[in-house]
Structures are given as C-alpha cells and as structure tokens.
Amino acid sequence: MGSFIKKDLLLFWRDRKELITVLVLPILLVVVLNFAFAGLLSDNANENLDLQLAVVNQDNELETLARLKEKLMEEGSVSNSEAEKMVEQASQLSPIPLLFNYLESDELKSWVTVHELEEGEAVKKVEDGEIDGILTIPSGFTVDSLYAALAGEVPATSLKFKMERETNNNSILFDMIHGFTDHLNFQFVVQEIGASDAEVFLPEGGFEKVGTGESFTLSQYFTIAMGALFALFLASTVATKTGLEIRQKVFYRIQLTNSNPILFLIGKMVSTFCLAWLQIMFVFVFSHFILDVFSDRTTSFWLGVIGIVTILSLAIAALAAVFTSISLRITNIDAANGIFMLVILFFGVVGGNFVPIYILPSWLQKIGEWTPNGSSLVALTNWIQYEELSSIVTPSLFLIGFFLLFTVVSVAIYPKRGKTS
C-alpha cells in the first residue's frame, strides 16, 4: 500500500499549480478577507446590531433583606444590631435593579432588546432562533451576592448566560454581561463590600457548562473557514486525478497485477488524509505567523487544534474515497468532476466556509452542521473560545461519523476488477 501512497503524494508534489492553489491561495484569501472585512467592521462597529436578550429572574427580592440578615447572623456570627446596620447599607446596592438599569441604559438599549420571560418560554425562543441568549438570575442570587460582598467571600450563586449556538451575537452579549459584572464589582468596591462574577453556560442539546470564553475574531473565522474549504477541494482534486489515471489507462495496468484493487482506494484515502492534514495545518500556522491569529495560546490549545484537524482530514479522505469510487464507475469523467465540484461548493456554502454560518437562516445552520466542514467549524470555533473538551465532543463525533459513513459507501461502490468505466 505504501507504493500507492508514495505515488499519489509524488504526483501531487509534481503538480506545482495544484500545490500552489492548495497551499498559497487559502492564506492569500485569509489575509485579503481579513483586511477587507476588518475595515468594514471597524467603521460601523455595532451599528446594525439588534440583539435579543431574555432575562429570567428566579430570585425573590422581597425576601432578600430578611434572609440576608438571617444569613449574616447564622453564618457570619454577626450580632443583631450589626446585622441590621449591614443590611441597611446593602439595601442601597441590590444587584438586580443595577442589572436592569445597566441593560436599559442609553448605551445598550439601541442595540439590545431585553425580554423578561419565564425559563421555559425563553428556552423555546432561543431554540427557535428568536432570542440570541438567556441571562438567568438564579434564586438566591441577591442574598448570596450581598452576603459574599459583605463577608468578603466568593459568591455561591452566579448569573448564568445560556445560548443555543455559538455566534458572534452571543459573544457580544457575553461580553456585555461581563461588562455588567465589572460594573457591579466597581459598585461594590466603591462601597467597600466585595466582588461578584459571572459564569457562562453553553447549550449543547440541553445546556452545558463551558466556562469563561475567549473572544472569537474574524481572522480566526477566515483562517479555519479557508483551511477547511481548501481541504475539501482536495477531495475533488484527488477524484480528478483518478479520472486522469483512468484516461491514461494506468488504472488498467494496475488491474493487470495480482495486487488487491482496494489498495488503490486505501492509497487514495491515506494520501488525501496526509495532504489535507498538512494543508490545513499549513494554513493555520502561516496565518498565525502573518496575522497573529492565535496569539498567546497554550500548547494544549494547539494539541486540540491538531486533534480536530486530524479527524476533519479523516472525513475529507473518506469523501475523496467516495469521489474516487464514483469516478471509477462513471463513464463521463468530466461530468463526474463537475458534480464533485458542485458538492464541494454546496458543502462550502451551507457549512459556513463562504459566509459566517450565523448570518444564515437557522434551518440552513442546522443543515450546515451536517457537513464535515460545518462540523469542523463548530468544533474549532468552540475550541478557540472555550478550550473545553466537552464543547467539541458532538462536532467531533459528527466528523468521525462522516469518516465511517463515507468509508463504508466508498468501499461498497468501489468497482470490482474489470467493472470500471
């Protein structure tokens, strides 16, 4: 099998035009798109934003002061008179009104619409795509925040931010809520009574905790989108080269030997895997050096990227195998190549490689996740932001599923000796 792999890699290496297309063009596009869109966005920062935020208030503020006094006396060993004094001081700083004041401030209300909803209704609206995210004020938040502030401890209850999918809008909301906690901390500091923090929850089927996220930049999007897109093109290129092997009758000669014909297919898969992996990593690394795309990231971050790229490359290799098997069966190779290119372009569009997936309608976003490139975009986006294994499990399983499905299909339709086009 090694000879098949070596042959395919050598043929690819000798095809300098293809090599330049696959390696240089995506980097060039990343640089050009990055500069072009950076200019557009910097001029109109949040001009066209209309973010929808649901606030679910599960806290009962009416009981707050009485419960705070009890808690101070029970857990803080504070005398009745001292407790009363502290409660009076804290009553000036109830965080929930502060939060609503913040959300309805002139600064925010032009681009954020706040909806006070029940939890079930809010979740449904997020799932339907009507709401960008949910901010939940959990039961006991006010008491815990004030007690923690008065006692100088870390609060036991936090604000929870939930979203149905990762988008730039959500990132903005997330940043906004962080802005509020900073604002709240500032208020507490001014009052010399402590600090609070926000915790972010990312939904995945249900809702899942992913911790505090990094920001996700446009240059990162372009890098992973172009890397995955051009790796997809590789699958089509490999099929085109198979067509050439059929035209040149080299496949005929291979069939004249006693070697197992399936080795030809496996050779195509392995060589495509190697090429796709190298190509995507090349785009990532060079984009990073040119544009500082992944600045200050840890070794574990890069290991995660390598892992995702590896399973994406496996899925692309298996897709190339499907194309190869079809090429060997179909009479009109040019028509087959045209169809392969259309499939790749379809994957590219719905998978979010041409335009960011979150600007597409929600039904198209759902379809996008059912493409190898779409899944890899979700996995890489989540990894870049949260670096949490739990956030990439589902898209990674999708990619492994694609790999297995495509492999089974390619082997099933691979023609027997003498049955080629």
Partner: protein, 310 residues
C-alpha cells in the same frame, strides 16, 4: 501454452467477439491482425482477465483460468495501446511503482527495473520525467513496465502507433530479442502489416469480432495463389476508365489512388493489351506497369474488402 476456445463477448446484447479460437505455443510469436473495431482489444482484455467472457474458455497450459485469473496475471505482461504510465513520474519511479504492485521488492525489484530499462534502451534517461520524453521513448517505458515481472507471455497491442521510424525499429528489435533470446511468447497486434510479417511466425486475421483466417505467412499468401496484383501508373485518372477496367474479364478488384491503379486479377491473364487499348480510348498514357506477387495486405483486402487502416 495459451488457448482460447470459442471465446465470445457481448456488450448489451451486441456481439463484440464471437467464437474466437486462438492458440499460442510456448516461445511462439503470433500476430493478430484486424482493422479498428475488429475485436482485437476485447479479445486481449478477456485473455488478460480484465473482461469476463460471455461464453468460451481461456486455457493456460491446459487449465481453464477464467475462474483463476491470478494464474494468468502471474505469467502475462500486457503492453496496452495507450500509454499506461504516469507522465509526472520519472521512468524509474514508474517502474518502481509497477514493480511494487507486481510484488517485487528490494534487490529483486531494482534488478528487474534495470533489466527492463536496459531492454528498452532507457537506462541513461531513467531519472527523467516521462513527460519530457518523445512519443517513442514513452512507448518504450510502456513496454518496460510490462516486463518487470519477467512474463512468459507478452501481449503487445499496437505498440508502435504514432512514433518515429527510429523508435519503431527499436521496439521491433526489442520484441524480436525478447522472443528469440528470452523465449517470451508474443501476441502482437498491429495496423502495420510489415511489422507483423517481420516479427510473427503465425497470424490470425480478425474482422467483425471473428477470426476469418489463420496460418503462417505462406499459408495466408496461398489464399491469393490464384491471383496476380498488377500496379499501373497513369498520366491522368478518369472514372470512366476505371469502370471499364473493372469490366475486363478476370479482373476481381480495382483500387485507384491519384494516378495509380492496383488491379487484382485471375492469375495468368494477360491484361496489357486490353489496358493499352482502353487507355488509348480515354487518351491516357500508361507511365508504368508491373505485376507483383500478393502481399499480406492483399490477403487482408481480399478477406475483408477493406485495408487494415480503414
């Protein structure tokens, strides 16, 4: 050694090859002649185990190999009509790849590559990319790739199409050497009658999917032993004149090309006086006139009604 018995192949109900009976003895060099579409390539594909026959048998040393094609692949080398090599690999890289898939390894592979390159005279150019080679050199690499596993039977399907005379001679010499010195059994198909005459001990003539004649060169020529071929060069050509020549008693076929006439007529007939008389009538001068012994080309024309390159 190799035998096909009533070998037939139909594609979508249309018969491409019908009841072909071939026999190749060990060390023999056999020619397979036929115009395009005669069924030669389909026959070769069936012998090579790439296409399964609809009916019939293929026997190797008396054993039917249709169910055991791997036995045939071990002893068979095929030089396809097309260049079945990678143009973006060097000659050496091509042979190494094909050697590997013939299950050759290490020193044995290296030795086979160098021997094959030496046979086709490309040792000096082995590191060059095939795409930089002339048509003739590419054809030689195509042959070398079929020699790597030292086949006992070598099938060459029009190996000299579209190449210069020098490369053509080189290839013919190579085939002759393989047959005479190495004892390789050869099945050679060609459009060029003189190549087949030069290389082959026996011939099969194929047309419309069937073998229409078989035998040694002498045996085939004897088919025309009752005929003479007369070639006439005229000062000008006239359609009416040709039609009149066809009516002369004993004339069987007339072919005209520019100012030349080729007449196949019953042996022993004196056509000169009749031709001179007709030429006078049409104010044509006879510039040249001679009688030839029939060639294999004439035999082919006689059998099929068309030339090999039709």
């Amino acid at each position: 050694m190799l035998e096909t018995i009533n070998l037939s192949k139909s594609f979508k109900g249309k018969k491409a090859v019908q009841d072909v009976n071939l026999y190749l003895d060990s060390g023999e060099s056999v020619g397979l002649l036929g115009p395009n579409g005669a069924g030669k390539s389909t026959t070769i594909s069936m012998i090579s185990s790439l296409v399964k026959p609809t009916t019939g048998e293929i026997k190797l040393n008396g054993v039917n190999i249709i169910q055991k094609p791997e036995q045939m692949r071990k002893v068979l080398g095929v030089v396809p009509q097309e260049l079945a090599i990678y143009e973006d690999l060097s000659a050496y890289e091509n042979l190494k790849f094909f050697g590997f898939i013939y299950n050759l390894k290490g020193k044995e592979l290296e030795k086979s590559i160098q021997q094959a390159l030496e046979i086709v005279g490309l040792t000096d150019r082995q590191k060059d990319l095939v795409r930089t080679f002339s048509g003739g050199m590419k054809r030689r690499v195509n042959i070398a790739a079929a020699l790597l596993h030292r086949p006992e039977i070598l099938i060459l399907d029009e190996p000299t199409v579209g190449i210069d005379p020098q490369s053509r001679n080189h290839i013919l010499e190579t085939v002759r050497m393989l047959n005479e010195l190495n004892g390789t059994t050869i099945l050679y198909t060609s459009h060029y009658m003189e190549e087949v005459e030069q290389l082959c001990d026996r011939l099969y003539v194929m047309d419309h999917g069937e073998i229409i004649a078989a035998g040694t060169k002498g045996e085939l020529l004897s088919i025309l032993s009752t005929e003479d071929t007369i070639k006439v060069e005229l000062s000008k050509m006239d359609e009416m004149f040709i039609e009149q020549v066809k009516t002369i008693e004993g004339v069987r076929k007339v072919e005209a090309s520019q100012v030349n006439l080729k007449i196949i007529a019953k042996k022993g007939i004196n056509l000169v006086s009749e031709l001179v008389h007709l030429a006078d009538q049409y104010h044509i001068q006879m510039v040249n006139f001679h009688t030839e012994s029939p060639s294999l080309e004439d035999v082919f024309l006689h059998l099929t009604g068309r030339t090999l390159r039709d």
